[in-house]
């Protein structure tokens, strides 16, 4: 029984990560397109490899769970759900590929203002930085720097920015915005 519970727990964790990661990839893929950012596009590709691995592990775990005949439909639902996250991740990766293919993308693809001098920046939250230990809402990054947080990466984990996300030293914050906000952003986050 204890084994079943552990397996249930693992399947659950896998699906949470598949769902969160695939949705974040779509956000990042569109952002890479809007900003014509090869850097963001590369990140999406890295995430795609991760999702592929995770998805295989997830399917193996679901298939290895012992179940009664009544449970089979539920397990099929789980597997289909996993397949959807994998397809979402694939679509995101292919959108990123349009950016990586190079050349000047068609103007309609950059759905932001054409002459805007927008950039993507990444900064590591410094030890003793004024925003360390604060939530994203308290850190007031957009208000102070004009930069918009796209993603927070903590080691192997990628998190979509949420107002209540507590920032730790070592977190990598990836943000987009006008070039003039860059320096303020580096200072505020890097400490």
């Amino acid at each position: 029984m204890a084994e079943d519970k552990e397996l249930f727990e693992r399947i659950c964790n896998d699906l949470v990560e598949l769902k969160d990661t695939s949705e974040m990839m779509i956000d990042l893929a569109y952002s890479s397109l809007l900003l014509n950012s090869r850097y963001l596009a590369e990140e999406v590709r890295l995430l795609e490899e991760r999702v592929d691995r995770l998805h295989t592990e997830f399917e193996l775990r679901v298939l290895s769970s012992r179940c009664d005949v009544e449970d089979v439909k539920g397990l099929l639902g789980l597997i289909r759900m996993g397949v959807v996250t994998e397809r979402l991740a694939d679509a995101a990766a292919e959108i990123a590929e349009v950016v990586l293919r190079g050349g000047e993308p068609h103007p309609v693809l950059s759905m932001v203002i054409q002459d805007a001098d927008e950039t993507v920046e990444r900064v590591v939250v410094g030890e003793g930085s004024s925003i360390e230990g604060k939530t994203l809402k308290e850190a007031r990054i957009p208000e102070e720097t004009g930069m918009w947080v796209l993603v927070v990466r903590r080691g192997e984990r990628w998190m979509r920015p949420r107002p209540e996300t507590v920032l730790q030293a070592g977190d990598v914050i990836i943000a987009s915005g006008y070039a003039e906000g860059e320096e303020d952003f580096m200072k505020l986050v890097g400490g």
């Binding site: 249930f8 399947i11 659950c12 699906l15 949470v16 769902k19 969160d20 949705e23 779509i26 569109y30 397109l33 449970d71 439909k73 539920g74 397990l75 099929l76 639902g77 789980l78 289909r80 759900m81 397949v83 959807v84 397809r87 979402l88 694939d90 679509a91 995101a92 292919e94 959108i95 349009v98 293919r101 050349g103 000047e104 993308p105 068609h106 309609v108 693809l109 759905m111 809402k137 998190m159 979509r160 949420r162 107002p163 209540e164």
Partner: protein, 200 residues
């Protein structure tokens, strides 16, 4: 099986169509997951409606792209646009597959509910009460994303759905589908039901 409609050429702005498709596809993912979470056929059918709308949009987009190409340089850069359009459609197809799990009674495993409780983003829906502080204001004016980290992703008014509402005014009896943090959603849902007189 629903009817497959013939799609006629209409001149549209490629840019606006792409943005619309992107918005619809993202909304479909949220609605499809909501359908699974609430095991709601009604929401799942809404996803399927949006899916057929997307299929027509891709056709119209591609027709407009073909007419826009004048030389090989155009063709090269427009191919990327067509690719993005078709991928946006793939995203909506994936969302429709989630709705299919609900509509075909394949079964929502208890793990799925558990997963939704643990993901960073949550989904909720509530009917707007006569006395709600949200009633009478536009979605933009409510600015729930900034206030409490919640987005209203759809409003159902009777049989009519407004997806990704912005300038729409929230009315009593509307059903709101929202996405956001657990704590933010709880506040918004309470406000919708008229149980509190301020959001904070």
């Amino acid at each position: 099986m629903s009817e497959v409609e013939r799609v006629e050429y209409t001149p549209v702005s490629v840019r606006e169509t792409l943005i619309l498709m992107k918005d619809i596809s993202e909304l479909m993912i949220d609605l499809a997951y909501s359908a699974a979470l609430f095991d709601s056929r009604e929401l799942a059918e809404e996803v399927m409606d949006l899916e057929s709308k997307m299929d027509s949009l891709v056709y119209v987009l591609n027709m407009n792209l073909m007419l826009a190409a004048r030389d090989k340089d155009d063709a090269e850069s427009l191919a990327g646009v067509a690719k993005v359009g078709s991928l946006t459609n793939s995203i909506s197809d994936a969302a429709a597959d989630i709705a299919g799990i609900v509509l075909n009674d394949i079964g929502i495993h208890p793990i799925v509910r558990e997963v939704f409780q643990r993901t960073e983003e949550h989904l909720a829906r509530a009917r707007v009460a006569e006395t709600s502080i949200l009633a009478g204001k536009t979605v933009n004016d409510l600015d729930l994303a900034a206030e409490v980290g919640v987005d209203i992703i759809a409003i159902r008014r009777g049989r009519h759905w407004m997806v990704n509402p912005k300038k729409e005014i929230v009315l009593p009896e509307d059903v709101l589908v929202a996405r956001g943090t657990a704590s933010g959603l709880e506040r918004v849902m309470k406000a919708a039901r008229g149980e509190v007189d301020k959001l904070g």
